[in-house]
């Protein structure tokens, strides 16, 4: 599926493991000594109150931040310090909390841009827009159209994304990440600011991505109903520390989690 990854991880095996990762900005400890793993084919939720370090965790996974301590194993290999584009080449895709689309481009071009890594025709064919360049353009357009069909955004494919409503922008962003055919898809609050219907749609897409493409998903979300329904396993962070890790039922019963969310009586 992904030419960049010869190592195939079987479903259920560990795809990504985080071992004793600590990250600090000056004196502020964003993450301290966090360990957890993500298994191939599962939906893994990362939850926690505001400022718990969830987004920092995702940024560490896809190479924006480099942890001072700890190591990260992706597909069984220890990952050296890597830049985000290297993480992308390794098969990690991501959507953002605030939509980070290419605003000047159409929905179609945004998703086509997600195919950049898979396109190889050289500069001279690109200049002529002929031969291999055009064949490649058509092949990847077909692939992108499948994603557009899947996400039900065929009607807006030629619309500049800046003009789309928020819910659709989120969907296009998901499409752009899917176009990379990732091994691991990181979703940072995919349902933030959505109404119930949009949340239901998005949940359906996430489950379908997981089932149909077998994509491993790590998601951050604040809507507990959604988290508990979607995810296979949940890791809970609070003040940069891991306070719980387990299945949704275990998490819901965990006293530490309840304390973190509701506060404790003094």
């Amino acid at each position: 599926m992904n030419a960049h990854n010869p190592a195939i991880v079987a479903k259920g095996d560990t795809l990504l493991s985080i071992e004793n990762v600590s990250l600090a900005f000056g004196g502020v400890k964003a993450l301290s000594d966090i360990s957890f793993d993500i298994r191939k084919g599962e939906i893994r939720a990362i939850i926690g109150p505001n400022g718990a370090g969830k987004t920092s965790m995702l940024n560490v996974i896809n190479g924006f931040y480099h942890p001072q301590q700890g190591r990260i194993l992706f597909q069984g290999r220890t990952r050296a310090k890597m830049r985000p584009h290297e993480a992308a080449a390794g098969g990690i895709a991501r959507t953002f909390q605030n939509v980070a689309l290419f605003r000047g481009m159409s929905a179609l071009d945004n998703i086509m841009a997600g195919r950049t890594l898979a396109m190889h025709s050289n500069f001279f064919w690109q200049l002529l827009r002929y031969g291999p360049a055009m064949q490649e353009e058509v092949v990847h357009r077909r692939r992108v159209e499948e994603i557009i069909d899947f996400l039900e955004i065929a009607a807006i494919r030629k619309t500049p994304v800046g003009r789309l409503p928020y819910g659709l922008q989120k969907r296009v962003e998901l499409g752009r990440a899917l176009a990379m055919e990732p091994q691991l898809l990181l979703l940072d609050e995919p349902m933030a600011g959505m109404n119930l219907e949009e949340k239901e749609d998005m949940s359906r897409f996430i489950i379908d991505v997981n089932h149909q493409f077998g994509t491993t998903i790590a998601l951050i979300e604040h809507d507990m109903g959604v988290v508990m329904d979607l995810s296979d396993r949940v890791v809970v962070l609070d003040y940069g520390r891991k306070i719980a890790d387990g299945t949704p039922t275990e998490i819901m019963a965990n006293q530490k989690v309840i304390d973190a969310y509701l506060g404790v009586a003094h």
């Binding site: 896809n62 924006f64 830049r83 985000p84 584009h85 993480a87 992308a88 080449a89 895709a93 991501r94 953002f96 980070a100 689309l101 290419f102 605003r103 000047g104 481009m105 071009d109 086509m112 841009a113 997600g114 950049t116 890594l117 396109m119 025709s121 500069f123 690109q126 200049l127 002529l128 827009r129 360049a133 055009m134 490649e136 353009e137 058509v138 357009r141 077909r142 159209e145 752009r176 990379m180």
Partner: protein, 358 residues
């Protein structure tokens, strides 16, 4: 009514991914090319060709160059004039050393010299953005301007400090130097500009163009889909400077016939930047609109009133010209900050649904 896609069914992705998917657009381009290649040479006198069309095309090419950098990749440059100068001087040196090689080959090759210089001065673009990058490219502008004055080798130790274009022929027809007719030069410039515009449009509609625009719109997300920022930005600098270099070589060899360093000073950079901003950032068509508004309109204003029978004092015309062009620039920028190209696309959109807008 006349401009709409109703009934034009695409049956392949290749047809839908075409640069001009609409039949009417393709007809329009055909008409424009016919006018440029047939009607203007047939009807235009040497003044129209020499003083209007040739420089208009050359400035359009320079605008396309800057537009690739500023409009498509989002990197502001104030070094356009200097990059044009590099092209001009490179072409001059090349044709001095190898006078027997066709001058058109050297005009194109001089773009590579400019591209190399552009990449060098584009290196800071990974770390600095926006106004700060503009200042960095301004340093390039001043440094290269200094070279054009202080390095006598560049102008063959000419005592005047200027370069003079020698006579060069193409299949026996003089195309540069004093003996070349405006008609021949017009055809040479037009062919090069049309070909290079076509290539630029291919580039910006494909993978490379999407990479540039991705870097412009959201560099973090661009990096996340696997785009490496520095090579992409440097590539934009290279292509942009290539276009500027070729246009600089054309400017000297096929328009001025000789040039002083002052031609490539910071004013030239601003001149091209205005064309790009008013024409429309991120639009090749806009580059032509911008060049027309900034360069052609003043000439038309100067020569139209006498033609229509108004006898106005020439000093008066000067003032009126400044007033009108200045006002128009402000009006267009207020009306549509995204440039004339956006006005044009809005007009096309209106035309699509006319006469029953919804």
């Amino acid at each position: 009514m006349f401009y709409r896609e109703a009934g034009q069914f695409k049956t392949s992705y290749a047809a839908d991914q075409a640069v001009f998917p609409l039949l009417q657009d393709r007809i329009g381009i055909g008409v424009i090319l016919a006018v440029a290649f047939v009607l203007i040479p047939l009807t235009g006198n040497s003044f129209v060709l020499q003083a209007m069309m040739i420089p208009f095309l050359i400035f359009s090419l320079a605008s396309i160059g800057l537009n690739i950098l500023t409009g498509y990749t989002g990197l502001i440059s104030l070094g356009t004039g200097a990059f044009m100068g590099v092209g001009a001087y490179a072409c001059y040196k090349l044709t001095t050393y190898f006078p027997n090689v066709n001058i058109i080959v050297w005009v194109i090759c001089s773009g590579f010299a400019s591209a190399a210089v552009g990449v060098l001065f584009g290196l800071p673009s990974l770390r600095i953005k926006g106004f700060y990058l503009a200042v960095a490219t301004l340093a390039a502008q001043f440094f290269l301007s200094w070279c054009f004055i202080r390095v006598p080798w560049l102008y063959n130790n000419n005592s005047s400090g200027a370069i003079e274009v020698p006579l060069r022929t193409f299949f026996g027809i003089p195309i540069t130097g004093p003996n070349a007719t405006p008609m021949t030069r017009y055809f040479v410039v037009l062919s090069i500009v049309v070909a290079m515009t076509w290539l630029a449009s291919n580039l910006v509609h494909g993978r490379i163009g999407r990479m540039w625009m991705a870097v412009r719109d959201m560099d973090i997300a661009a990096e996340l889909i696997g785009i490496r920022l520095l090579p992409t930005k440097l590539f934009a600098f290279a292509v942009s400077s290539f276009y500027c270099g070729v246009s600089g070589a054309l400017l000297v060899f096929l328009w001025y016939g000789g040039a002083e360093p002052a031609v490539f000073d910071v004013n030239q950079s601003f001149f091209i930047l205005f064309m790009v901003i008013i024409g429309g950032l991120g639009s090749l068509l806009g580059s032509f609109f911008g060049a027309a508004l900034i360069f052609l309109l003043p000439i038309v204003l100067r020569f139209l009133p006498p033609k229509l029978g108004f006898q106005i004092h020439s000093a008066m015309i000067d003032h009126v010209q400044f007033l009108v062009v200045g006002t128009l620039i402000i009006v267009f920028l207020i009306l549509e900050p995204a440039g004339l190209a956006r006005l044009w696309s809005i007009a096309k959109q209106k035309l699509r649904v006319w006469p029953f807008p919804y």
